[in-house]
Symmetry: C2
Subunit: 483 residues, 2 copies
């Protein structure tokens, strides 16, 4: 029977350390594919730990797919199809190539606070598997049929119900259009609205949005925002007739568009029926305090507000499913325009997601993730408070979304701090990285509103909790020290 040297577990719990040990033995081949594992009772007595600890560890290993159980027979090591020697050597080769490419620019990455990755290991994989199996075991006419362009009805109904309960939005399944991620959806939007139109995007903002719109042929006007949201004044000046906004949680500043500004936007919309607002409601699931903010779409009374959201952020970026909510009056023209197109998402995924939503698993998952992310955020805040003896670091805009701003007091220039951080293994973005140079007027910086200089955007969704003390001390080190 294998052993597990608990004396080496450090700060880890018995449960965590046992899981880690078994994984390592599977990965390094000392436990072979389909090999029987000791029974829970036998292993517990062998290691001198409780049966319940072994049981929980085995359950976790099953849910992560490392082992499987056969009723009345016991636990066995899974055959890992993607871990063949060929695959291993290939991935080694790739990581070598990657490393050599990165060598010149930076040290090994200890923590990536720049990308908005998510905690993928938290994905409720066993539930997803269960639902997939259930759909696969049911008569499959539905999933083999070509789906309507707008997406499977079951999924659109489930999304409508979700929007009702999560965002208090009153929309019908008919208004919903499912697509393989927001990029695909934006390409439909540009083709629908017409690329001759000027699309206003927020500056600062998430640069990928402008990139995707531009790639689809749209003309872009980068438009300043102030602490109330996108400046209506700047918008009117640049002559855009389509606006892309994140009114409920601006990235990266965290600004929430005020009610007054919202009313101004809706009034702007009413002036001309050829104007459109694209409301990107990304991250609205992860608001940590304060009243949830109703989307613009709900106050628009059927005006031209197109609502966009995605499941990639809440589930996993590898699921390519996003959706639009169109105002009622655009539903028929949109359908008519794309009537000969196929839906871009496979049927099986649509049916599984529909079950995931309608059987309540999504709501549970969001609640769990919110908790998890709050925890990470709190740990970061506490560590900063604890280590921040000279008050060099200041957090702001930490209540919504999966990022906050970190303002740094330092004699070093912000570019220098950033490069120090990189040398220290911390990948991070400057708030100023999100500003585009070619905007006419950047009131955000001009008028000495937030942000001050030396402000960083901390995306903490992909951070591992146990690394947080180290991350904070590395940040402090980079701020003070000249490399």
């Amino acid at each position: 029977m294998f052993t597990c040297d608990f004396s080496k577990r450090g700060e880890k719990s018995l449960y965590e350390f046992l899981i880690e040990t078994v994984k390592a033995k599977i990965t390094n081949g000392s436990l072979k594919a389909n090999e029987k594992l000791p029974s829970k009772r036998a292993l517990a007595s062998h290691l001198g730990i409780s049966v319940i600890t072994v049981q929980n560890a085995y359950a976790e290993l099953i849910s992560e797919g490392y082992i499987y159980s056969i009723e009345k027979k016991g636990f066995f090591v899974t055959e890992l199809p993607f871990d063949s020697p060929a695959e291993k050597s290939r991935s080694k080769e790739k990581s070598r190539a990657k490393k050599s490419a990165e060598k010149n620019s930076s040290a090994e990455i200890f923590a990536d606070l720049a990308s908005n990755s998510i905690a993928q290991e938290k994905f409720p994989f066993s539930v997803w598997s269960h639902l997939t199996r259930k759909i696969l075991n049911s008569p499959h006419e539905n999933i083999l049929k070509s789906q309507p362009f707008e997406g499977a009805l079951v999924l659109r109904e489930a999304i409508a119900a979700h929007l009702k309960s999560f965002r208090n939005m009153d929309v019908s399944a008919e208004q919903i259009f499912v697509g393989a991620g927001t990029e695909v959806l934006y390409s439909f939007i540009v083709r629908f609205l017409g690329e001759e139109k000027i699309f206003a995007v927020e500056n600062p903002g998430y640069k990928k949005i402008a990139g995707v719109l531009e790639m689809n042929g749209a003309k872009i006007a980068r438009t300043a925002i102030d602490e109330n949201g996108m400046e209506i004044f700047a918008l009117k000046k640049n002559g855009a007739s389509v606006v892309h906004v994140t009114p409920n949680n601006h990235f990266p500043t965290g600004v929430v568009m005020t009610v007054k500004r919202r009313m101004e936007f809706l009034a702007w919309l009413k002036e001309d029926e050829n104007r459109f607002i694209i409301e990107d409601d990304y991250d609205s699931e992860f608001r940590f305090s304060g009243k949830p903010i109703a989307p613009l779409q709900s106050s628009a009374e059927g005006q031209n507000v197109i609502y966009v959201n995605t499941f990639s952020k809440t589930l996993s970026p590898s699921f390519r499913i996003g959706f639009l909510v169109l105002p009622q009056k655009l539903v028929s023209p949109f359908k008519e325009k794309f009537r000969f197109c196929s839906c871009t998402v496979g049927a099986l995924e649509q049916y599984v997601l529909a079950s995931f939503l309608s059987e309540g698993f999504y709501a549970k998952h969001i609640a769990r993730m919110k908790n998890y992310y709050r925890n990470i955020r709190n740990e970061l805040a506490q560590q900063i408070e604890r280590q921040n003896e000279n008050s060099l670091l200041k957090i702001s805009e930490e209540n919504s979304g999966l990022h906050f701003l970190l303002t740094i007091k330092s004699n070093l220039a912000e570019k220098k701090i950033k490069s120090n951080l990189e040398k220290n293994g911390i990948k991070i973005s400057l708030l100023s990285d999100f500003f585009s140079a070619d905007d006419e007027k950047n009131s955000f910086a001009d008028e000495k509103k937030i942000p001050p200089e030396k402000t960083f955007v901390v995306n903490y969704s992909g951070v591992e909790k146990q690394k947080i003390p180290q991350i904070v001390s590395r940040i402090l080190q980079s701020v003070q020290q000249d490399f």
Copy 2:
């Protein structure tokens, strides 16, 4: 124990009739969800049929998802998640609405020879389920990670190997780009090549191609074809710099581009490095006789030929997976252009398809489907020969793809024949439906080459075999009779 009145089975085999009876009992609720079915032996003796017949029927019902088995416990009725009373009433409502919409235009459809649907019940569902489960049970870091834009490496490698063995194409995984169906891939192609270019498409041809290219902003030049393929003369006249062709099996005429014409096309390509050929190799899997035709891409020696194919036609239209093969020299520019885009296909589907390909299931499936379609085609041909006493019907171009041409001798005008057919429940397209009026010159008709008038395109891939005698007699009736 339930019974099965074999006296009512008509021409059906015991096996078929038993399956049908059990399905009906499940659907109408006389067999309840999770109800235990009689054992094979008990049912066989009860019905006076062989155990092997029951066994085969149960196996088929399992593979179609109507029942499931638990080892040593027996067979049980599956819980059908999408067949709730609410769903039923909804689908009733929908079919009612559909019927009332169709009432004015045509009778109920008995057979649809116009759409290129596939025999979805032949999809190897149990294998697909098995592979999906296997992937879901393996460690899931791979499937939760965001995939590279070009698609998962395992899938691209599997596609490259498949192209090698099926089409003798020598391409590397690096040249392959996976996308959510050909429509999505065409939209990337247009953006990559530039919409200011003129795209030549075949006339006659599959109209959806022109539609998709146009929707993406491309300018279209409908270009005549003759019996050797697209006319190079017509192409040179219209000034197109991009050509979309189906050289290996033109739809709908079945014309295969001759070697001489291929050489002319490649010479045209060489004249200017800003020229491109998009080779649509749809249906190449289903060539029934003659030597398989090498794709243009293989003779192009790295010139600008972009190869496109899809799995929607061979697997199921509800799987949205297609792929491009780029010539080596376009790989880097293509990646560079779309470097910030996400892959449009979910990771799980990519991994399952990769296993399906690399474990040989796809090749088996193609062989099986080829057999199946050949059977349907032969049955149609035989029935036509048998019933066609006055030689009113003539088949041509029946050796490749899943359609053939049917030329009809009749005093009625072709539009009249078509409407008669519709009244008789046969949905069918005229060959002339695939010609666009706005082409400069249609040599196909002009110069008295094929096709003659009154020629129909018979898509037989979705036809049910047992309906074939009826289909042929309805066609003959429509040709002779004036309604």
